[in-house]
């Protein structure tokens, strides 16, 4: 009795759902996975909004001409979703990783394919940024990812109006120049720096970019990478030195708009906006090149970007060194045997693709140095490209490469606590070191 009724119910339910699903679910076979041999591939990535729209239109145009059908899966919560999908064995064919850390985790699980077969490595070696190829390599040196877009975080924005009166006439050539420039501006009675690290649950990350910048400037990419890979401890005296430098440059009274106490509650998106007040509330804001997109500076400023906003790179220790802290999105291949996926990946690494993206997406920066500068839509983005391509030293964003517990956990939190004045620099560094997961 019991058995019959449950089976009957199950059948009834099954019939109902199957019948209705036939009417409603339109296509969407879920795609993806390493056994996909069709020319319909799934491309999963973490960027959304305008970036996503431009990317899709560029990719669709190419796919239409090359007999590839791409199913786009932009997801705002890329890292957790890719983890779930890999555990559930629901792999996309290609994924674009915003951080090398997660790419390496996937590579260690054995779900990623070597991409060096799919792309022309010689061409990339010759034309990519130095260091950009290495960013996509696993620990054994296998190429698991190719940088398809890049960004730089060693840029300082300043308002063109009023900069001269404040003493900001020429971009500082060395870090000492930057320090003295900061003092000059401070002497006029206005705070030289805009600085804000609030970003909801992500509060603190803009501070990590500062620390990383200063690490790279002071000690070069070799020591920087050792620090990021935890070959030297996080609380090394050299890191403490950097934090002391930050205190002098940014946190001392009169250096930052609103004072040290306001930094932790000042949203990074709008922290730079007092630069455009009359008179400016601050004169310099170091942040990534993404800041020129719609949605950060006031709309009126974005519309007249080249005339209103100036940029200069973070200077090196000497006039002939210009280290750049950058980042980017790495395309990785799950379906190594799928020809369409290979072609798609190769296209994203090509100069054609990157020229098109540069032309159509304001915030795009090409990791290839042979992209025609004329394609960038504004002088400001051309400046970014020049700063990136003329870098004497390029390093990938460190917190993106550190284990999640540190890179998007204790590093953010302890920096926030330190900046808010709750703990001293040494304690903050010790805490982060203690939180580094034992491998």
């Amino acid at each position: 009795m019991r058995n019959r009724s449950t089976i009957g119910a199950a059948i009834a339910v099954g019939a109902v759902t199957l019948l209705t699903s036939g009417c409603l679910s339109s296509g969407g076979d879920g795609g993806g996975g390493s056994n996909n041999t069709s020319n319909e591939i799934e491309l999963m990535y973490g960027f959304t909004g305008n970036q996503d729209q431009v990317f899709q239109s560029v990719m669709k145009e190419w796919a239409g001409q090359n007999d590839v059908t791409i199913q786009f899966s932009p997801t705002p919560d890329f890292n957790s979703l890719i983890n779930t999908r890999v555990q559930g064995n629901q792999l996309p064919d290609i994924a674009i990783f915003p951080q090398p850390g997660i790419l390496r985790t996937m590579a260690e699980r054995g779900v990623l394919s070597d991409v060096s077969e799919a792309v022309d490595m010689d061409d990339l070696e010759a034309n990519m940024l130095p260091g950009a190829i290495e960013a996509g390599q696993g620990e054994d040196g296998t190429q698991y990812g190719i940088l398809m877009s890049s960004n730089i975080k060693s840029v300082v924005y300043y308002p063109k109006a009023g900069a001269e009166q404040a003493g900001l006439t020429t971009p500082p050539a060395t870090f000492d120049d930057l320090l003295s420039l900061s003092k000059t501006v401070a002497a006029t009675g206005t705070t030289p720096w805009c600085f804000g690290i609030e970003n909801g649950p992500g509060t603190g990350w803009p501070a990590t970019d500062w620390v990383e910048n200063l690490m790279l400037i002071n000690y070069g990419s070799d020591v920087y990478n050792q620090w990021v890979q935890h070959e030297i401890p996080f609380n090394d005296p050299r890191v403490l030195e950097v934090l002391n430098q930050m205190e002098e440059l940014l946190l001392a009274p009169g250096e930052t708009n609103g004072g040290r106490e306001a930094i932790a509650s000042n949203n990074f998106q709008t922290a730079g906006n007092p630069m455009f007040d009359t008179p400016p509330g601050c004169y310099m804001y170091r942040q990534g090149n993404f800041l020129t997109q719609q949605g950060f500076f006031p709309d009126a400023v974005v519309d007249t970007l080249d005339d209103t906003v100036g940029v200069f790179p973070m200077p090196g220790t000497s006039a002939d060194s210009s280290p750049v802290l950058g980042g980017g999105d790495l395309a990785g291949l799950f379906s190594g045997d799928n020809e369409s996926a290979q072609k798609t990946l190769a296209y994203m690494a090509s100069v054609d693709f990157q020229n098109k993206m540069a032309k159509e997406l304001t915030s795009y920066l090409a990791p290839r140095s042979d992209v025609d500068p004329a394609n960038y839509p504004s002088d400001t983005s051309r400046n970014f490209a020049t700063i990136q391509n003329e870098a004497t030293d390029w390093a990938f964003d460190g917190s993106d490469q550190m284990p999640g517990a540190v890179g998007s956990g204790s590093f953010w939190k302890e920096m926030t606590a330190w900046i808010a004045g709750e703990i001293d620099a040494q304690t903050a560094l010790d805490n982060i070191e203690a939180s580094w997961p034992a491998s």
Partner: protein, 308 residues
């Protein structure tokens, strides 16, 4: 946000129901004789309502403000320096395919609400009115399933769906929501049915009604409050769900409103002003559903809580 708004009418309702009937009985609108507590109660309830309503009002106002202003000043400044724009709304509809997402949301929510109610009603009937071996044990098992967090099932389900080839379809998300909603549905409806007078069922039996007839003709009409209240729970839950939708449907042509909405937000959080407009838009349907079903909801809240 939306759960905040829908919560208020309950309090309003219970407030007016109890306080209203009391005052009426004692004569008109005047404050109660000798008792300050009704006023005090009303103040507290009013404060609670304000706590829920003010953020929603802020959301609504912000959605009509230009982004630059929303970035530089609070929403309440609209009352001193009004400036209104529909830009956010037109941006939301031009940047995301909200129409398609809306249809998808309906297509996901309606079956994922009706199917579990139907199954749970069958099951609840069986648990209440039929005798069989192991009935209590089965019931305890189902109640125990209430405490299992949804998240533990995500990966195994995804794996199963992959093997069946239904990942990314509506069927996948329906099944997930049906499964996740079932324990609560059975528990709630069974407890309600247990309060129905046994005599009616017995007399139906004497008149020769089969179980099926009893169920459809008697039990279902009498259980409407419990069914309706669970329908609202499940509808709101599925409509507002982002987690299961992201995992089992994912972005693309089948995406519901929640995914379309969150995709409007840029990587560094730019475009948040679009969320205010989009968020308000997605709240419309739940509010309508709630308002049209709320009289069942208030009755249904006590469903199963008092057995007697």
């Amino acid at each position: 946000m939306s759960s905040g708004t829908v919560a208020t009418p309950i309090q309003l309702q219970s407030d007016t129901a109890s306080v209203g009937s009391n005052t009426k009985a004692r004569g008109g609108k005047k404050p109660d004789v000798g008792g300050k507590s009704p006023l005090w109660v009303r103040i507290v309830v009013g404060l609670l309502c304000a706590l829920w309503i003010i953020p929603t009002l802020g959301l609504a106002v912000t959605s009509f403000r230009p982004a630059d202003q929303a970035n530089s000043s609070g929403w309440w400044t609209i009352f001193t320096s009004p400036s209104v724009t529909l830009q956010n709304y037109s941006d939301v509809f031009s940047r995301a395919n909200m129409g398609e997402a809306f249809v998808n949301s309906v297509a996901i929510t309606v079956p994922a609400t009706i199917i579990p109610i139907l199954i749970a009603a069958f099951a609840a009937y069986v648990f209440t009115f039929m005798q069989f071996k192991g009935r209590d044990f089965l019931m305890v098992m189902i109640v125990a399933l209430l405490v299992v967090p949804t998240q533990v099932a995500l990966v195994p389900l995804l794996k199963l769906y992959g093997d069946l080839g239904i990942s990314g379809t509506f069927l996948a998300i329906w099944l997930a929501h049906i499964g996740f909603g079932m324990p609560l549905a059975i528990y709630l409806i069974r407890n309600y049915m247990a309060t129905l007078p046994k005599e009616i069922i017995e007399s139906a039996k004497i008149d020769g009604a089969s179980h099926f007839q009893t169920f459809w003709r008697l039990i279902i009409p009498m259980s409407t409050p419990a069914l309706a209240s669970f329908a609202i729970f499940q509808f709101l839950w599925v409509w507002n769900d982002l987690l299961a939708a992201l995992i089992f449907v994912g972005p693309g042509s089948n995406q519901p409103l929640t995914i379309a909405l969150v995709s409007l937000l840029g990587n560094q959080g730019q475009g948040w002003q679009l969320l205010t407009a989009g968020g308000l838009f997605t709240m419309l349907v739940p509010i309508l559903v709630f308002l049209s079903l709320q009289r069942y909801f208030v009755r249904g809240l006590t469903a199963g809580s008092v057995k007697g």
